[in-house]
Symmetry: D3
Subunit: 191 residues, 6 copies
């Protein structure tokens, strides 16, 4: 696997990995056309690999949110946390899922300057506060989401994406995970 | 289950839960003598329950750290993030695992005033920086952990505990999870 | 006196202290059943001892506030300022005066997650702002206290407790005052 | 007394004040040639008046510091806390005691741009940290003061001035104490 | 020219300066009665001297604001940015243009404690936010200026003064520009 | 001209513009193949247009820095200030001048995670500090640039770029300047 997937921990050899990790890595490689570096990186510790991607799968598969909303949350949170891997990799996913080639750069820089519906602006204001000042989130913040039209389960799901990427951003920066070159350009063409 | 386990989302009925959640909840109840509120709270969304506790299990079962070090990290991070549930519940666990009845209050308030070895002080300085300023963590911070005697895998494990509780603190505060009364007093007697 | 009362300044011998300090220390010792370390600590400089405890006496004896409200303010402010001595010692006093064994841990961690009346929530929101951003406190903050039912003199008294403990927290942390073991457990039983 | 001494609490009538307050106010008025507004302001609550000025007297009369060093600390701390009364009133005192007509404006704006000895720069760096981040002050900060030549008692005295003016700044801003016109211009002429 | 005009870059000799700079410096010297140090300082790089003072001239000559409003903005912004040169030099200009000998010290310390109309308070609240948190300025902030009576062009002009002095404060602090002694006392007499 | 060049001020008609602005706008349009929105935006106030672009020209034409270093500084500073227009427009310029298709996204997100020489890392550390905490920049920061190999004039030039874009970022965000679509994709292909 790509030895340069991360800068601060050794990337394991394929031959040392358990079968379930190999299978997941191969699936992801086939889907993307390349192996996103977060997979060889988390393979450093297989038990963490499984837990991390299971949580990620739960967020995207058992959710009340649109996939593009999930990616909007991820890019915004990762911008606040200055996480290179997540901004670049999920920026690519956001461009593709939202069919919006400019949105990722807007959200990574400043969601307040992005082209957003009022509802998504409220969602991302909440995401930024839960990221920056978790201890100050309270009834008023939850009420603002409700007024913007979010249901109880949607609020849980928004909070969960924000929370998991507060995990993810920290591991990616600590490990110095490197975004694959492909992510920088995917989904940028306009038509 | 305890309807007051959290303040901002409904707690599901036992009868609505899948078997694997019931089994885990019953095991935890037997172990602790009561049902810690984080279990009925996360049961709101079973797929998240599984992912969250699997990650937690990986952190405590497949680790190079002592259990008391894990709890020291959790209480310190949760203090920085002002998370009531995690400070109180893991404060109890820390008192018990470390057999140190004062340490949890010290770490939750200010790890700089706690009775710590130099190695643990370095570990917690790192934890605070990764929590407060994840984008500023870099080579110098990792080098400081190495100088304090931490191996590569120990650094990964430290970072993982910090990162997962940056998830956990946000969900607990958002959901307004309430610490069970038992946690406030467990492990406080000195002998 | 207890040589370990503080970590960064020498604790004076009883035989070197003026009579009025000895008298006060003996009174406090009799009342508490032990000598709270703040007394031998401030005895390092008798003129400061007198001024500090006179201010403290004025706050608690000539006041429009309930004693438990004073201790609520102190624990909250000391939590914001990460002051170990004050959180632990006044946490004990709060548990006793408010007959509320969980309230101190809640306020020290995050007053926004505590079980509070609306009036006390407003009081503590004000206390946190005056502690964190004194230069931004203005007419609107004072008006919010009035709307919550506080009289002019009560507002002065609230502000005074907050201000004195902004002094106290700084001296306790600078001197590395150590909470007596007794404070960690006082008032925790529920009946 | 001057009804405009403060903006948010009523200034008491002279005829309602206890004798010891009147005596102190008259002494101060004679010394300064006018009544500094902090005296009628604190007279709102005589027990606090006594405690506050007793502490202030202890700081200036029983001290290892030069009076100009005390005023340097006060102006710097009050600048950090954005306290108008203390910056202007103690700015005047600093100009007079230090015979340095520019120093107060320098310290109130930015002590890092002031004309200072290395020792005083270290003293004020410490004062700013104890003001802004009291919970982060530790052994290294105290060691830096020692290396700059400060004795144990001098460190206590520096810390005490900083701490008392963290009280004072908060009460002055809360009460909206107004600096007397005289303070703005005192001590500004060069010869 | 005054070699002590700044502390971190060499001040050029008059004989090395192009004619247009000499002319401007001589005009300013005649107007003020001394050479404000910002002129010899920026002469270090003549192309920057021209651009900087052209922008400054545009701000003061082609504007919808009163000159005293411009100086109020400058002193407030420079206070937030802790810029000694700009606080002292523009403090003098503000005292003169506003015929208000106390206003500069008030704004440099805390505009919230200054004697201001509601309109000017709104203008300075905006200036502080655009200085401290430029990325958070949005529609609501602009609407607040409109409600306070500012026209579209006035809002542009307010924003421009704030923005240019965010440039100016940074260059002055970096270069360690020293305020001329004259600025400290100009305009302080009351009649 | 493009009415959508900015969201909060009206864009003037070409027919209302003075000849020198038209000439500059036409030159820029020819060079880029489209009219970058910052030109019609600043044309709102022709005197500011001239001053702003004169300063910009001085920065890029009379400089000791490489053009790609200038753009590295701009993208980093604009990322810290969350300025969408500057990140996207100067991101494009950086990709082209540095022939480095990934560098802009890296610097806009977190210069600490970018592929940089040690010298450029020191340059950008300095740029971030001068942006975030201008009042704390001092001798040690300037010395760090010298140790990294920067000459006196290079340090002035670095500081000037940082300072001018602290102006620019504020005007662009206040005016809600919109990056042209072309900027998002320019210079992204690798060969």
């Amino acid at each position: 696997m790509n030895d340069a997937a991360m800068g601060r921990f050794p990337v394991p050899d394929r031959s040392d990995l358990p079968d379930d990790l190999l299978e997941r890595i191969d699936e992801e490689t086939e889907r993307a056309g390349f192996t996103p570096n977060v997979f060889p990186a988390f393979a450093y510790k297989p038990s963490h690999f499984r837990a991390f991607f299971d949580y990620h799968d739960a967020l995207t598969e058992d959710t009340t949110l649109e996939r593009e909303e999930i990616e909007m949350l991820i890019v915004t949170v990762s911008g606040v946390n200055d996480c290179l891997y997540c901004v670049v990799a999920h920026g690519a996913l956001l461009r593709i899922f939202a069919e919006a080639p400019k949105l990722a750069d807007q959200l990574a820089t400043n969601h307040r300057s992005a082209d957003l519906s009022e509802q998504h602006r409220a969602m991302l204001d909440f995401a930024v506060k839960l990221t920056e000042e978790p201890g100050r989130v309270g009834d008023r913040d939850v009420a603002a989401l409700r007024e913007a039209g979010f249901s109880t389960e949607e609020i849980w799901d928004v909070g969960s994406v924000v929370s998991v990427f507060n995990l993810s951003n920290r591991m990616a920066t600590l490990a110095d995970m490197r975004p694959n070159d492909e992510f920088y350009t995917m989904g940028r063409s306009q038509e």
